[in-house]
Symmetry: C2
Subunit: 356 residues, 2 copies
């Protein structure tokens, strides 16, 4: 098959981890007889420097004309003090909404070889950690009206947490369907004891639940969920929640696995086109030093093969290649332990590509 992939090399360690992910994809193409055509789509700080905006129209266009988009990470201190209207994050938000990516899928999984990096007590870890956070991505307080104004001699500011029925239904659909493919347990997270948007959310969850009698449904308040993730993450299979709660809980969930540098994320809309990225940031402090861990980026590419390109065997092969590299003891600096073999970003990427 021939597929077109938009490539967003990003800032900081972005370009070097992307190089490794593309090398792995090239190895996949060779092994399985595919052709991947890469189309550059600049975004983030580098785009601000080159074009004055974090997401040039041409980049969005490239993504919309591709079968999927790969993104490394954007931002850095260099752009922290510029006009908020054109900060790197704005590019990311514009890309999500421009591509209609309302569903963010974030697996939280313990990687057995990195078990010791998990910050939880061993007996809690032993119960297992393997769940998926399904986060609504283009609604809520992120995209409701933002306002700052003067009133009675002082400044006031507000953000509107707003959801319409169809926005909630489509993400719940993803939640239920994801649960059907996994352990058939779904936990819907809201703050229905306080927020109207959460009350609507909960009502729609209960309605849709009738269509999924096989799915064991639970409702949980967001504050309780933040506790339960630490107390006993093994209780979760699929968590579905709105944008802001999902932002907070999915990061907490990732940290709980202890494998921040290793976890990917997929953002999907109505069709198969999606945006795939590692969950970690652009780590400007180690950029260009061949120190970054490319595994999160490479596993993001695997998710792309699975969800957007309909290549499950290829995705399995990449995941197995990562596993083999870890089994053989290779470790980048962030996950190095005594007795293991230190490698750089390129060394890790090459080993994984070679394992294919």
């Amino acid at each position: 098959m021939e597929k077109k992939i938009a490539v967003i090399r990003g800032d900081g360690i972005g370009p070097e981890i992307m190089t490794q992910a593309l090398a792995v994809l090239d190895a996949v193409a060779e092994k399985f007889g595919h052709t991947f055509r890469y189309a550059e789509a600049p975004m983030g700080g580098n785009a601000i420097d080159a074009f004055g905006v974090p997401l040039p129209d041409a980049s969005l266009q490239t993504c919309l004309e591709s079968d999927a988009a790969l993104l490394s990470a954007v931002g850095g201190p260099k752009w922290d003090t510029i006009d908020p209207a054109i900060r790197p994050e704005k590019g990311l938000l514009a890309l999500r909404s421009g591509m209609g990516l309302y569903a963010n899928l974030r697996p939280a999984q313990l990687i057995p070889q990195l078990r010791r990096a998990c910050p939880l007590r061993p007996d809690i870890v032993d119960r297992g950690i393997d769940f998926m956070v399904v986060r609504e991505l283009i609604g809520g307080a992120y995209f409701g009206e933002h306002k700052t104004w003067e009133e009675n001699g002082e400044t006031a500011a507000s953000d509107l947490m707003i959801y319409r029925e169809h926005e909630i239904r489509r993400i719940l659909r993803v939640g239920f369907e994801t649960a059907m493919k996994r352990g058939r347990r779904m936990c819907s997270v809201d703050k229905a004891n306080v927020l109207d948007s959460s009350k609507l959310w909960r009502r729609l969850v209960n309605e849709m639940a009738a269509e999924y009698p096989e799915v064991e449904l639970r409702h949980m308040y967001v504050d309780n969920c933040a506790m339960q993730l630490v107390r006993d993450p093994s209780q979760f299979d699929v968590i579905v929640t709105e944008n802001l709660f999902g932002d907070i809980l999915s990061d907490e969930a990732s940290q709980i696995t202890g494998s921040i540098g290793m976890l990917p994320s997929a953002s999907l809309g109505d069709g198969t086109r999606g945006l795939y990225e590692p969950i970690h940031g652009s780590a400007p402090d180690i950029a260009g030093q061949d120190k970054a861990n490319p595994i999160g980026m490479i596993l993001a590419a695997a998710m792309m093969l699975r969800y957007s390109l309909d290549m499950p065997a290829e995705a399995d092969a990449v995941e197995a290649a990562v596993n083999t590299a870890l089994e053989s003891g290779l470790r980048t600096g962030d996950i190095l332990e005594p007795g293991k073999t230190a490698v750089g970003c390129a060394g890790m990427g090459q080993a994984i590509a070679a394992n294919l």
Copy 2:
């Protein structure tokens, strides 16, 4: 001294833990020569049953005429399905706003005797956990306009996250002052890369920081904070944040200490009058069985002595009495470990009172 204390016995295990806290206060009164007059202020599910509203006007009035209010816990499944307008939580929110309690102080502290209950890895726990979450309590999405309406043939709902300058300044003042009395490190948590209310928040933090040059200030995004609390809680001294973020992060922080049943919380306004409660819920499943852990409630009473009644020696005495009870091996069911002595709610309360 003579002090008037409003007593909200609440629902579920509320009445039984309150009985123990009042017994401890009586022991304090006898030992230190004070008179505490208790005024009943019904609130929550029991108030709905008796008066049809979760917070009768007379209860609010009683609280406003007292030097401080003690609250156990409200709510339970019995009232989960009633009209949202009169649910038990509404009483709590009305009480907070009626008393002008804009600052919620939540200590997150490892209790050495319960170290093994901490869900984090021992080497992380060894670095220590001792910080204070300062949460804004009567602003933001909790008190902004809540709306549900029909639009284009579907339902929509919204909640307004709104902050005015004076609302932010007064809570930041509490944050900085708390930091000055503790380790002089303050972490302000927001989502300034997305929200206007957070941008205003961050600007005001930076302005006020000029008045507190001794305080080491850090800004952190809420998603990152949710991760850092798990990764290394020892990095925090004081966390200051808005209402909804504070709801989520303070519960996560409590869980991290592993001592949910033991932690108190204080809610304060401009004067010394405050509302004191344990952070745990009303645990209807064990209500009336003498199984509840009264320590969170008793430590809430200690906080009241310290913050509202200006009785620091008395507060120290209560905290020491709790400590002695734990040292002597007494444990309620929720914190029982092999080799310790199981006691009920009343047994624990009596032991603590006797230690005075």
